[in-house]
């Protein structure tokens, strides 16, 4: 892994677009600095030899149990009750096309 250069403001803007986060200019700048620092810190682990090492996700040994194919009813009214906006029993959003 090569040394990370300081994140550019453009890179931060691109990420904010990808993450769908509206940021103010000052948020953008402070995040630019802080992310650069965190990533620079991370540079240290580049030296750890990880050849042939599989990335670890679930850290403990857990036996897999799948779910039987059985339908359980759920009171969807409780779900719809939280909708910011709806039409009948449908979620309403700004036009998507």
């Amino acid at each position: 892994m090569s040394k990370t250069e300081k994140l550019t403001l453009q890179a931060v803007q691109k990420v904010s677009k990808l993450a769908r986060l509206k940021l103010t200019d000052s948020e953008m700048t402070s995040i630019q600095n802080q992310l650069s620092a965190v990533l620079e810190n991370f540079e240290q682990i580049a030296q750890v030899n990880t050849d042939e090492v599989r990335p670890l996700v679930t850290p403990t040994e857990i036996t897999q149990v799948l779910r039987p194919d059985v339908v359980e009813d759920f009171d969807s009214e409780k779900i719809l009750a939280n909708a910011p906006e709806k039409a009948g029993r449908l979620f309403k959003v700004p036009p998507v096309v």
Partner: protein, 474 residues
């Protein structure tokens, strides 16, 4: 179509909806329909804190699909999150599979205009469906009943060369998934959806051209037409020097053309990573073996067996087109598969088509058809009478032996009775008898008709012919 020296390169991504009771990662109903947002729960609506748990039946269907497509089944496949924002995607990511799909490296075989074809299946992976958005001008509405329904995405290698080949591939795929019972293959309800990747290149080039994706085509005929149009469009672009843009297009069946779905295609960055809410999906060899052992016979092998039973290649293909028809045939075949095939293809299918019924709704059961054929073969009724009986079976649903008995249609094989009829007919038509005797053998048919009529069609034709010939000669 003027292809000049271009060749088309076509690959298909087919989404097959697995017909489980519940969704891929939760217990909500996976069935089509339901009231708006009725088939939902905390999981498939992406409520905070809800977690996915894999449906074991969906995994079994996934393995089954992979085996039917001659794939190798991965023993450690991984569910990964495909991240993008869209209102019908409740968690902001779709749980799919990325670099470790359940099934890889298979193939699908079919025949195209008599020639055998084999298309490579690069991968088949499990994923959940999204919900449905409907658009109403200044707003859109979201129904999540379909969100989380299990799908297999089956990806072919880009190695098909014509629209016909692609359509036949898709038809065969539908046949296979229906045969193995993992999908109902209903294109209208979206149980099977097809995206086509089409590009063109100069014949002999090894480099692929710019790929255009045609999405969501809902009939095989339209797959063929859409690809045909798209190939021609791309050739026209090349010839006129217009650039081919990598984009997603839709097919408009009314105008028979494809059109661009979005003006500017944003480069997606799906940020795939293994879903940390789930373990690696481990599959034991024993489970693969069990699914293999329980695998129903696939259409190609079935057609081959039908040919071995004496059917023509054409009849075998026709009968294996739909699983239900093949099943019907097997139950009707009895000792005379050839006759059963004829009856189904010529009589039954005609009636079904005319009344717009599926074979599962046929008033004549396969077993009843087998009985009818047995009555003919035993000489109880003639082939001609059998058609009358068949018509009666179609309208009443009664067993053929009951109809024959009720209507007294049993074939007359008693020589004495037939001789009497023949004598009467000859006596009533002396002029024609004289003609015959003077060498005009064509009149023989007249006598057969008259005698049959007199016997109400019940006389055994063989016996009657023999007696007629004898008596006419005098």
């Amino acid at each position: 179509m003027a292809f000049n020296d271009y060749e088309a390169v076509i690959g298909l991504e087919i989404h097959v909806q697995l017909q489980t009771n519940s969704k891929l990662f939760c217990s909500s109903s996976a069935h089509f329909g339901g009231g708006d947002n009725e088939h939902t729960c905390p999981n498939c609506t992406g409520q905070p804190g809800a977690l996915p748990v894999v449906n074991e039946k969906a995994v079994e269907f996934g393995i089954k699909t992979g085996l039917a497509l001659n794939c190798s089944i991965r023993k450690d496949s991984v569910f990964a999150r495909k991240q993008y924002f869209y209102p019908d995607l409740p968690r902001g990511y779709q749980i799919s599979q990325f670099d470790k799909p359940l099934c890889e490296n298979g193939y699908l075989e079919f025949t195209l205009e008599g020639a055998p074809k084999r298309v490579t299946i690069e991968r088949a992976h499990m994923e959940e469906d999204a919900g449905k958005s409907t658009h109403h001008g200044d707003y859109s509405l979201i129904n999540l009943n379909r969100a989380g329904v299990p799908l297999m995405e089956i990806v072919s290698a880009p190695e098909m060369r014509s629209a016909q080949e692609a359509a036949e591939y898709a038809r065969t795929m539908r046949k296979v998934v229906r045969y193995i019972g993992v999908c109902d293959g209903n294109l209208e309800e979206g149980s099977l959806r097809c995206d086509c990747n089409v590009s063109i290149r100069k014949r002999g080039d090894s480099k692929l051209g710019t790929k255009v994706e045609i999405k969501n085509i809902n009939s095989f005929r339209f797959i063929e037409k859409a690809i045909e149009f798209e190939i021609q469009r791309q050739i026209d672009c090349k010839e006129t020097g217009e650039p081919i843009v990598q984009e997603t297009r839709l097919y408009d069946p009314d105008k028979n053309r494809t059109f661009s779905m979005r003006t500017k295609e944003e480069a997606h960055d799906y940020r795939y990573f293994p879903d940390p809410d789930q373990l690696v999906l481990e599959i034991e060899q024993a489970q693969i073996d069990a699914v293999k052992a329980a695998m129903p016979e696939l259409p190609a092998s079935r057609a081959k067996r039908f040919v071995e039973q004496g059917l023509s290649e054409f009849d075998a293909q026709t009968l294996t087109q739909e699983l239900e028809i093949a099943d019907y045939f097997e139950r009707a075949a009895g000792k005379n598969p050839k006759a059963a095939a004829n009856w189904i293809i010529s009589e039954l299918m005609r009636e079904l088509n005319e009344s717009k019924r599926e074979i599962s709704d046929s008033p004549i059961q396969a077993e009843q058809l087998a009985q009818l054929i047995a009555l003919i073969d035993a000489g109880t009724i003639s082939g001609k009478i059998a058609k009358t009986v068949f018509a009666e079976m179609w309208s009443s649903g009664k067993n053929p032996d009951v109809i024959v008995k009720e209507k007294g249609l049993t074939q007359i094989t008693d020589t004495g009775a037939i001789e009497k009829i023949v004598d009467d007919v000859i006596a009533a038509n002396p002029a024609q008898a004289a003609e015959y005797r003077s060498g005009k053998e064509k009149v023989f048919g007249f006598f057969v008709g008259q005698a049959m009529k007199a016997s109400k069609g019940q006389a055994s034709p063989d016996v009657m012919n023999e007696i007629l010939r004898k008596k006419l000669k005098g």
